[in-house]
Amino acid sequence: MSDEKKPGLRSPLRRKLLMGMAALPAISMLPRASFAEAPPTSAVNTTGLAVTDSEVTVGILHSVTGTMAISETGSVEAEKLAIEQINAEGGVLGRKIKFIQEDGASDWPTFAEKAKKLLVNDKCAAVMGCWTSASRKAVLPVFEQYNGMLYYPTFYEGLEQSKNVIYTGQEATQQIIAGLDWVNKTKGAKTFYLLGSDYIWPRTSNKIARKHIEGHLQGAKVVGEEYFPLGHTQFNSVINKIKLTKPDVIYAIIVGGSNVAFYKQLKAAGIDLSKQTLLTISVTEDEIDGIGGENIAGAYACMKYFQSLDNPNNKAFVSAFKKMWGEKTVIGDVTQAAYLGPWLWKLTVEKAGSFDIDKIAAASPGVEFKGAPEGYVRIHENHHLWSKTRVGRAKADGQYELIYETADLVEPDPFPKGYQ
C-alpha cells in the first residue's frame, strides 16, 4: 500500500514521457541540494534502517478509512507537506525523505500490525502516526520491541513516557491548567460544569481539571460532571441540567460526531455562548468545519495552536498548506503538531549526526524548532514539548481569535504530582 503508485505503463511513449517528467524536478534540485557533503551511510546508519546514500524511508501511519479518518486526514496532509518542504531544502543529512503510508483503518490491532510492518519489513527510520490514545497504546509495545521512533501529534491525557515516542501535542496539564487559571482570573469563574465523552482522555483531563479547580482556585467548585457514550447524539437532558445549575463555565471535552450534536442543540436550546462562558479543549478548527461556525461562535478553546496565529512562521505554513491541499482546508491544533513531527526528527537526526534510533532518542531532549508555526518549541527530557498554551474565541467564520497566551513556555508534566 505504498503511496507511490506505479503509473499505468501501457505505451512505451508514455513511459518515456513520464520518466522525462519525473527527472525534471530532480534536475532543478541539483544546485540546491548538497549531496556531495552527505556523510557515508555506514557511518550514519549502523542498525540496518532503510537509509541509502541518497534516500531515507519514513512511515506515515494514520487512519484514512473508518471513523477516525475525519480527524486523522489533517495530520496526514501536514506530515506530507513537512516532508515535501524538507526535501526541497535538501533532505536530512543529504538524503531525500521517501515515505511509505499505511492505513490504520480506525482499528487498533490493525495499527499494531501496520506498525510492525513499517518497522520490520520496511525498516523505517521514523514513523509519524497515530491519533487516538487507543491506537498509540496498541503500537507502543511494537515500537519498544523493535526499537522504532514514533512522532505522535495529538493532545492527550499524559501518564505515559517512552524512549521510542516523541509527543508533539500537549499533554493534559499543559492544556488544562493555564486555561482554567485564565477563565478564573479574567471571568471570575467560580462554578464549573464538566462534560466529556466517555473514554480515557476526557475522564483523565476532567480529573485534572477538578483537582485544579478544587485545590488551586480560590472558592471555585465543580457543580456537575458527566460523560456520554462516544457517538451520543442527544444532549437535551444535560442542557436542561446546565440551565438549572447555571454554572459560570461549561467545560466541555466532547469528541467526534457528538460534538456537532452538542453545539447544535446547545444553540437550539437558547444558550447564548456570547453570555454563557464555555471552555473546550477538544474543538479545533477541523471540528468547527463540521459543527458550523455559527453554532459555536463565542465559545473559548484552550490549546497551543490556532490557524489565525499572527507570526511569520504560521503565515508561511498556512499558505503552503492551502497551496498543497486546497484553499478551503482548515488547520487545527493537531494538524500543526503533526507538521512538527518530520521537522523535529530532521533536526534531531542532524544534531545526533546519525539515523540510529538510540542516538536520536538520546539527542532529542533540547532539540529546538524555531520555525514552528506555533512559535518556538523545544523537546523536554521526558520527550514531550515545551510549548505555549493559548486561549482563542470561536468566530462565526470558523476561525479562532487569539485572546490570551501564556508568557512563557509551559513545561510538559506527563505524571503530574497531586493530580492523580
Binding site: 436542561n240 437558547g270 459543527i291
Partner: protein
C-alpha cells in the same frame, strides 16, 4: 438535588425536560420508521439503514450549497426541497439495491444481514471518496435555529419542534399507506402469504421493490432532518444504527404501533434517567432494562399474530 432551587425554576426545567423527552421520542420514531417497514414487512435486516440516512444528509448539504450559490433569496425555504430530494435519492438507491442485491436473498434472511453490512461499508467508503473524510457542516436557515421563548424561563428548541411535526406527518402518511391504501393491502398480503398473494395476481416483486424503496426513502428524510441536530460525515450513520435496531426489535418486528410504543418507552426512560443520573449511566440502565424485558418477551412489545 433540588433543595437550592425555586419552585418556578423547577417547573420550567420540568417543562423543558418533558419536551426533551418528546423530541427524543420523535427522533427515535423518525429513524426507526424506515427500518420498521423494511424489517417488519419484508423480514430484511437492513444494516445499511444508517448509510441511507446519511445519503439524505449529504443531499441536504448539497442542496444547501446549491441554494447559497445560485438562489440565495430562497435559502430560508431550501430545507423542504432538500427533504424531498433526500427521499427521492435514498428511495432510488434503495430500489436499486433491492433489485441488485436484496431480491436474491429473500429466502436467506441472515444473509441479508451480512450483505447489507457489506453494503454499509461500501457506501461509507463511497461517501468518503466523494465528499471527503471530514465532516461537512450543513448550514441552516436562520429561522430554524435558536429557540422559541414560551415563557421567561422556558425555551423550546425550534428544530426539535420541527422534527416532532415532521415525525407526526410521516407517521400518518405511512400508516395511511400501509393500512388504508391498495398498495398497503398488497404489502400485507405479501407479508402474510407470498405464494398466495402472487397467485391472486399481485406483482410481488414490484411490491417488494417499492416497500424497500419507501423504507429507504424515509431513512433519507430522517437523515435530512437530523442535519439539524447531528453531524454529517461518512460514518455518521453508525451513530444511529444501534438505537434504531433497539427501537424496532423492542417494539416487535412486524408492528408499526409497537415501534412507536417502544420509541416512547425508550426515549422517556433515557431522558428521565439522563436528567437524574448521567449520560453513560442512563444508556447502561436503558440497555439493561431492554435486555431483561426481551428475555421475558422475545417477540417484543407488540407482536403480529400470523398463522405459521
Amino acid at each position: 438535588m433540588f433543595g437550592d432551587y425555586s419552585l418556578s425554576d423547577l417547573g420550567a426545567i420540568f417543562a423543558m425536560q418533558g419536551f426533551a423527552g418528546l423530541i427524543l421520542f420523535s427522533v427515535y420514531v423518525l429513524m426507526a420508521l424506515g427500518l420498521a417497514i423494511i424489517f417488519g414487512q419484508m423480514g430484511v435486516i437492513n444494516m445499511a439503514h444508517g448509510e441511507f440516512m446519511i445519503l439524505g444528509a449529504y443531499v441536504t448539504w448539497m442542496t444547501s450549497n446549491g441554494f447559497q450559490q445560485y438562489l440565495p433569496s430562497l435559502f430560508p425555504g431550501y430545507f423542504f426541497l432538500a427533504m424531498i430530494l433526500a427521499f427521492i435519492a435514498s428511495g432510488a438507491l434503495g430500489m436499486l439495491v433491492e433489485w441488485a442485491l436484496i431480491r436474491h436473498l429473500y429466502k436467506r434472511p441472515l444473509d441479508t444481514l451480512l450483505a447489507t453490512w457489506g453494503l454499509s461499508l461500501i457506501l461509507q467508503q463511497a461517501y468518503r471518496s466523494l465528499f471527503g473524510a471530514r465532516e461537512v457542516g450543513v448550514e441552516l436557515p436562520e429561522w430554524m435555529m435558536g429557540s422559541w421563548q414560551a415563557t421567561d424561563a422556558i425555551q423550546i428548541p425550534i428544530n426539535g419542534m420541527f422534527v416532532m411535526g415532521l415525525t407526526v406527518l410521516i407517521t400518518i402518511v405511512v400508516a395511511y399507506l400501509l393500512f388504508w391504501s391498495r398498495w398497503g393491502r398488497q404489502v400485507r398480503a405479501v407479508v402474510q402469504n407470498r405464494v398466495m398473494a402472487g397467485a391472486v395476481g399481485i406483482n410481488t416483486e414490484k411490491v417488494d421493490r417499492y416497500t424497500f424503496g419507501l423504507g429507504c426513502g424515509i431513512a433519507g428524510i430522517a437523515g435530512s432532518a437530523f442535519t439539524m441536530i447531528g453531524s454529517t460525515g461518512p460514518t455518521a450513520g453508525q451513530l444511529y444504527i444501534v438505537d434504531t435496531f433497539l427501537v424496532v426489535v423492542f417494539g416487535g418486528a412486524a408492528s408499526l404501533v409497537g415501534t412507536i410504543a417502544s420509541a416512547f418507552t425508550i426515549s422517556q426512560a433515557q431522558s428521565t434517567m439522563e436528567f437524574f443520573l448521567s449520560g453513560s449511566m442512563a444508556k447502561v440502565l436503558t440497555l439493561l432494562a431492554i435486555v431483561a424485558i426481551l428475555m421475558m418477551r422475545p417477540q417484543g412489545l407488540f407482536a403480529l399474530k400470523v398463522r405459521k
